[in-house]
């Protein structure tokens, strides 16, 4: 494609638009990434079923809205509750009975779980793509010649609210502190009387709830179908890896960075490389900081 000597003015507007687009997709990646990090920190495993929680959030909301004709808020709350229940059941049936297995087997089990959840969702909800209505108006807002949809603001707002709530939970509640203790040293935590099993269960509950929220707030924008979980899950995983598996600012930063890089890459280099950019970043991080994956680094991660 020949580069059309575009004037610098248009170029800067374009870059602003790329950045805004990137921020809003990045916020989604952050939210999913935090779900990965919370489970990783309490159990030491990467839960590849995280993307399916995202899918369940969106698909269930669509289901409650269109088939049961529930009001928006009720549909959203119900689907968050149900997805959380799925997360808890998943932990009970698939993770807890095997908690002495090595992390790699557990990771593979989560992959199996994700295929199972996706299959059930396909049978229940069908293979069609669905859209749910936006939370507020659909009219784009103009910010210095770049445009953004109100739904993007909802995504950004809700993401930051959740991250703040997360921080409060982990630093100012007894359960949150206990989970941090588990993430530092599970054995020591259990020695001082912390119920490690219960913490693992709570971590699955929180992660699946976060995943479903991510699925719900993005569904009006990106639409949803039984198989959206795979790609979103992988991107969230990249965000968590970039953020060093922290369930706080690190992963948020990782997600936003990933979103902006993708968007800039697609706009300025080539749209064909959009997904490649995410995975090149992932590989680079894994090469430079391999301890991010299965071995705990010295830094605090919660």
């Amino acid at each position: 494609m020949p580069n059309c000597g575009c004037e610098t003015e248009t170029m800067s507007h374009q870059i602003l638009q790329y950045a805004l687009s990137g921020l809003s997709t990045g916020a989604i990646y952050s939210l999913i990434g935090i779900g990965f990090a919370i489970i990783y920190n309490s159990t030491g495993i990467i839960n590849f079923a995280q993307g399916e929680f995202v899918m369940l959030g969106g698909m269930m909301t669509y289901f409650f809205l269109s088939l049961l004709r529930l009001p928006m808020l009720a549909a959203m709350c119900l689907s968050i509750l149900l997805t959380t229940a799925v997360g808890v059941v998943f932990e009970r049936l698939a993770i807890r009975p095997l908690r002495n297995a090595n992390p790699l087997s557990l990771v593979i089990i989560t992959i199996g779980g994700s295929i199972l959840i996706r299959g059930i969702a396909m049978l229940q909800f069908g293979k069609d793509t669905h859209s749910i209505p936006a939370f507020s108006s659909n009219e784009p807002l103009v910010i210095a010649d770049a445009t953004i949809l109100p739904q993007n603001l909802w995504i950004l707002g809700i993401t930051f609210l959740i991250i703040a709530a997360n921080r409060y939970f982990f630093y100012h509640t007894i359960n949150g502190k206990a989970m941090r203790a588990c993430s530092h040293n599970r054995r020591a935590a259990s020695l001082v009387g912390i119920g490690v099993k219960r913490m693992v269960l709570i971590s699955f509950a929180i992660s699946s709830a976060l995943g479903s929220i991510a699925g719900i707030i993005t569904a009006p924008l990106t639409m949803t179908s039984y198989d959206v979980g795979i790609m979103l899950g992988l991107k969230g995983f990249c965000a968590a890896i970039i953020g060093g598996m922290s369930s706080g600012v690190g992963t948020v930063f990782g997600g936003l960075l990933l979103g902006i890089f993708e968007s800039l890459g697609a706009g300025l280099i080539s749209s064909g490389y959009k997904d490649a950019i995410a995975f090149i970043i992932l590989l680079l991080i894994l090469f430079i900081r391999p301890q991010g994956l299965f071995r705990k680094a010295e830094t605090e991660r919660v």
Binding site: T129, P140, T147, G267, K274
Partner: protein, 381 residues
């Protein structure tokens, strides 16, 4: 015995003989069906199987072909080339069909072609791939419209609006890359200049970067080539960015589902489509109108769903076979020869005229241009 009663006995005997002769001579004419009824391409195979059976039942209810019933033996390929090959072999070797309708997908069709060519059984595929009939294989025909006919229709429309500079945005799967190739290779003939050529992934959820780039470029129109849900997202993203350029979609999204997904963002979008969607909007002079209305009405009656393009491909295939058998008899060789002589058959997908050099049989007039107006289709004059 009187002379009269002798006569009656002779006549009765004669009738008896004749009827047994008819019994021997009139087993049903067996045609095979290969459809991806389950699996990822079930959205093609299911309406195709439904329609094929419906048409066969209707032909039989109206007295069959030359007094003989038609029988459809349909197998599910599950969109799997290996299963398609097995099913085709079974149709030919065990069921002794005289012709085959289907398969539903290009992959299945390409796998089955060597088998029907060797067995010399005519096959009318319902898949769209250009390579099915280019180069021409003696025993293989198809009913789905070629992609490049849709490209020609779009370019013709653009040229009539004096639009010359276009931006492409195509999905990076086989449908998108085939469309992209055709768009590029036909651009010159219609005087089009492709000023940007972007792609997006089939699972992408945000196409604002590509559209931002297009908006900053010199294009006068955007052509997007993909199947749901991508194009619906692109329509929404374009509205979000306030892109004022006319947006053209491919026939890959010509269903109500697209309007449902894109919502208000679908307003003013142009796309080429087969005539099924707009059967009742067509002028009385349209030669396909009669076939279309009867297909849509019958499908609604039998399956409580709207007849779509895919069902139409099977409708065309069975009716083309019916015409060939009526004219030339029921041997595979005669059916093949008569199929090739089909001229001006007004079906669902278009007006078919096969020839020894053309086994796809349609022109760009198989498509009409539609515009989305008020969440519904409108014909573009």
């Amino acid at each position: 015995m009187t002379v009269k009663s002798v006569k009656i006995t002779v006549v009765a005997l004669g009738l008896l003989l004749l009827s047994t002769a008819l019994c021997w001579a009139a087993p049903p004419i067996k045609i095979g069906g290969l459809f991806s009824i389950t699996g990822p391409a079930s959205f093609l195979g299911e309406p195709e199987r439904n329609t094929a059976q419906m048409v066969v039942d209707e032909i039989n209810a109206a007295g069959g072909i030359r007094g003989r019933k038609l029988q459809l033996v349909a197998y599910d390929t599950q969109g799997d080339a290996t299963k398609a090959v097995q099913a085709a072999t079974r149709l030919i070797k065990e069921d002794h069909v005289v012709a085959i309708v289907g398969p539903s997908t290009t992959g299945d069709t390409m796998a089955v072609i060597p088998i029907v060519e060797r067995a010399k059984i005519p096959m009318v595929s319902c898949a769209a791939g250009i390579k099915i009939t280019e180069p021409v294989k003696p025993w293989v025909f198809k009913t789905a419209q070629n992609d490049y006919l849709a490209v020609q229709k779009i370019y013709e429309n653009l040229a009539s609006k004096r639009i010359k500079r276009i931006a492409l945005l195509t999905v990076s799967d086989s449908f998108g890359s085939s469309g992209r190739e055709q768009l590029k290779s036909l651009a010159k003939r219609y005087g089009m200049e492709i000023v940007s050529d972007d792609t997006y992934g089939p699972k992408d959820t945000d196409m604002t970067p590509q559209l931002t780039k297009i908006r900053g470029g010199k294009a006068q129109a955007i052509i997007c080539w993909g199947t749901n849900p991508g194009p619906a997202l692109i329509a929404r993203n374009a509205k979000q960015l306030g892109v004022k350029l006319p947006l053209y979609m491919s026939h890959g999204v010509s269903s109500k589902k697209f309007i449902g997904l894109a919502g208000d963002a679908s307003e003013g979008i142009f796309l080429p489509s087969g005539r099924v969607l707009v059967a009742d909007l067509l002028p009385k002079s349209d030669r396909q109108k009669k076939s279309l209305l009867s297909f849509v009405r019958d499908y609604q009656k039998h399956f409580k769903a709207e007849g779509d393009h895919f069902g139409g491909h099977a409708w065309d295939a069975v009716m083309l076979l019916k015409g060939a058998i009526e004219r030339g008899g029921d041997t595979p060789a005669a059916i093949r020869a008569q199929l090739e002589r089909t001229r001006n058959f007004a079906g669902i997908g278009g007006i078919f005229s096969y020839s020894p050099k053309d086994h796809s049989g349609l022109t760009k007039e198989a498509f009409v241009m539609l515009e989305v107006k008020g969440r519904d289709w409108a014909l573009v004059r």
